[in-house]
């Protein structure tokens, strides 16, 4: 009976003009979104390649120059678009793709796509993640809202009951028939994405296993929606009621709760404003070592300590350039200040993430959204990882420059110039996003929430209704 029902329902789907139009519309939307996204992915990564090469050429071609001038001349750390961002663009659009690295200051990522767009960007883009997260559940609703109610409305329920049809078998047959088109569409999308990504130049590490995991996350999301839509249909007396209830579930789960979650998380664990953050950093800096100010109290202490350590009376007698040494110490001190304050931000982020995890118990959308972004390397955690790697690279670059300055000149010798070839010795910036295993272990709670939703919604569908 399960397979008969599956076959019968699919025959009904294929013969319904309403459903054929819906399926074709979704397929068309997916094709367009996918095409736009792949073009965008290619264009962004071409820009990334070009900017990275040109910026490195600028750095390498500085000619003879004082290393501290080079430190202020600075360089950039660029974030590539990772392969799975083709499917989920996550927060990439809003967080910036490059960080300016210079002496004394840690900068935020800049040049976000959203900043380059007009106010119309508020309407969002037609992207595969939009289709996957919002449109596909709507399609499930459209296909399934009257799965059971139509049996009452057409009167076929009487014949089904008289024939002794089992609710479980009927429900499983309907479940399969509702899930089948969703499975086909999702599989086509992911297979297409995999084939495209495996053909494109390798800007990041593309793994079929990561794509498979992302595919699995979305399938579980659709299983949950399929269960809930069928449950509502089984419990409703009329199709209209079922449609309204299913749409309400979609609005709450996919639109209202995520926005409410953002408000709640921001309210409970607010980030400082940019001004407050800058003021706190500045306060700590003022109380610390100033590399450019020899009369600074901490600088005086450092000077006294170094003179004592080397057993000399004058900075000129030191075997290195104390100005460069002091600047390096100042960099190290300032880096600590930045780590401290950014760690506070990250702690707020972690607490906000806990709020989202909690609310994911009410909305499967939240868990899916965050898992999807994590697997696609387009979440905040990956961005933090990139920003931290850029900061470590900045600190290492300053040590590299100050080291050259200190070792190759004497105190007060501000006219020192490093060789034109020296800059090439600086290793390029590299950042590897988290491995799949790390992502899975970092998102265990969300995976559990998804599993609970999946099992719970199945139980709701199959065990709360015994009779037709």
């Amino acid at each position: 009976m399960i397979l008969s029902t599956f076959k019968k329902e699919n025959q009904g789907f294929m013969r319904s003009g309403r459903i054929r139009i819906a399926l074709l519309t979704v397929l068309l939307l997916i094709a367009v979104a996918f095409w736009i996204s792949s073009k965008h992915y290619e264009a962004t990564n071409r820009m990334y390649d070009s900017a990275k090469t040109s910026e490195r050429a600028n750095w390498d071609g500085q000619g003879e120059k004082n290393p501290h001038s080079a430190a202020h001349y600075g360089t950039y750390a660029f974030k590539p678009k990772y392969p799975l961002s083709l499917i989920d663009q996550g927060v990439d659009k809003y967080v910036g793709s490059s960080i300016f690295l210079e002496a004394h200051a840690r900068h935020e990522a800049q040049f976000s796509e959203a900043a380059d767009q007009t106010g119309l960007a508020r309407f969002g883009n037609l992207s595969p993640d939009f289709i996957l997260l919002f449109i596909m559940p709507l399609l499930i609703i459209l296909l399934g809202y009257n799965s059971f109610t139509k049996e009452h409305e057409m009167g076929t329920i009487t014949l089904l009951r008289s024939e002794g049809a089992s609710f479980y078998k009927l429900a499983l047959g309907k479940w399969l028939s509702l899930f089948f088109p969703i499975l086909v569409i999702t599989s086509l999308l992911f297979l297409g994405a995999g084939l495209v990504l495996s053909q494109l130049p390798d800007y990041g590490v593309f793994q079929w296993s990561a794509l498979g995991d992302l595919y699995g996350v979305y399938l579980v999301y659709y299983i949950i929606f399929t269960n809930l839509v069928l449950f509502i249909s089984a419990k409703s007396k009329r199709s209209g009621v079922s449609l309204v209830l299913s749409l309400s579930l979609w609005i709450l789960s996919c639109l209202a709760l995520p926005k409410a979650a953002s408000n709640v998380a921001g309210h409970l664990h607010p980030y400082p404003t940019r001004q407050e953050f800058a003021a706190e950093v500045l306060k700590d800096k003022e109380n610390g070592l100033d590399g450019h100010n020899p009369w600074n109290k901490k600088a005086q202490t450092l000077q006294a300590e170094v003179l004592a350590e080397y057993g000399v009376d004058s900075l000129h007698q030191l075997p290195f350039n104390f100005d460069a040494y002091r600047m390096q110490k100042s960099e190290e001190h300032e880096a600590e200040i930045y780590y401290k304050h950014y760690d506070k931000l990250k702690e707020q982020y972690r607490k906000q993430a806990e709020v989202y995890d909690g609310l994911a118990m009410v909305s499967p959308y939240l868990a899916t959204r965050f898992l999807s972004m994590s697997l696609a390397h387009t979440d905040y955690a990956t961005h933090w990882g990139f920003a931290d790697a850029a900061e470590q690279y900045r600190v290492a670059t300053q040590a590299f420059l100050n080291g050259n300055f200190a070792e190759n000149s004497k105190y007060g010798e501000w006219g020192y110039r490093a060789d034109a070839d020296f800059w090439k010795e600086l290793p390029p910036f590299e950042y590897d996003p988290p491995e799949l295993s790390t992502i899975v272990s970092q998102n265990q709670r969300k995976l559990w929430v998804m599993a609970l939703w999946c099992i719970g919604s199945f139980a709701l569908l199959l065990f709360t209704t015994k009779k037709l």
Binding site: K8, M154, L159, E163
Partner: protein, 238 residues
């Protein structure tokens, strides 16, 4: 095949069926006559297991309906007043599906044979049910009963709204099933059709079986007279 033993159904204070005792044997067609609200449909719903009796028992092929309604389903077929099938499916597809529910996996030739036996024209087999008349749908219902080899057929006003020719054709099909040994219980208002097809006729009023006789023992005129006499309010009869 069908036995009711003091079968009673109450809705709150209202007695819808009052200690009904009837028996339909193999190959018999039992027509239940009565006005609206007499208890005919309640009887059928109790036999189908759609309702639970307040007291008494119903048996289909010796299986107690209340105790094991699911087990009785494999023996019986039901055709309501308006048999509703899946409108976007063809007759063949509907028959295939409902036979599947009954656990029968039939080939296309078998399905076609059953539809033919039920009197459906071959050109209609592949047409969607949405284009069918009520009479044609009833024939698909008969085909479903034939396909599952039902031993018991329950019919609730099956000829209501059918034109005389379709109604006559339906009667012919019932007799055909009867010859195959199917026990049929048919609730109807149609005295003429009841007289034409029934083996036994029962007349119900206010949930009670008032009269019961073999169809060949009574003429249509006597049946009509008896029926109308029973339907008269007591005061008027006086």
């Amino acid at each position: 095949m069908i036995i009711t033993d003091n079968l009673t159904k109450k809705y709150g204070g209202h007695l819808a069926l009052d200690r009904l005792n009837l028996q339909v044997k193999e190959g018999e067609i039992y027509c239940l006559l009565g006005a609206n609200g007499a208890g005919k449909t309640t009887t059928i719903n109790l036999l189908l297991g759609f309702l639970e009796p307040s007291s008494g028992s119903a048996f289909i092929n010796q299986v107690n309906v209340k105790e094991n309604a699911q087990a009785t389903k494999k023996f019986l077929a039901y055709i309501p007043e308006n048999l509703m099938l899946y409108p976007s499916l063809t007759a063949l597809e509907n028959l295939d599906y409902f036979s599947g529910i009954a656990g029968k996996k039939l080939g296309q030739d078998e399905l076609r044979n059953y539809l033919s036996e039920a009197g459906l024209q071959e050109e209609a087999f592949g047409r969607r049910i949405s284009t069918y008349s009520k009479g044609m749908r009833q024939k698909v219902g008969i085909a479903i009963a034939l396909a599952k080899h039902a031993k018991v057929l329950l019919l609730d006003e099956p000829t209501s709204g059918l034109d005389p020719q379709a109604s006559h054709e339906f009667g012919r099909l019932l007799r055909q099933l009867s010859n195959l040994g199917v026990a049929t219980l048919m609730a109807t208002h149609d005295l003429f059709r009841a007289k034409e097809v029934a083996t036994k006729i029962g007349i119900m009023k206010n949930g009670q079986l008032k009269r019961e006789f073999y169809a060949n023992e009574i003429s249509l005129a006597e049946l009509e007279e008896t029926y109308l006499g029973l339907m008269q309010p007591k005061a008027a009869a006086l």
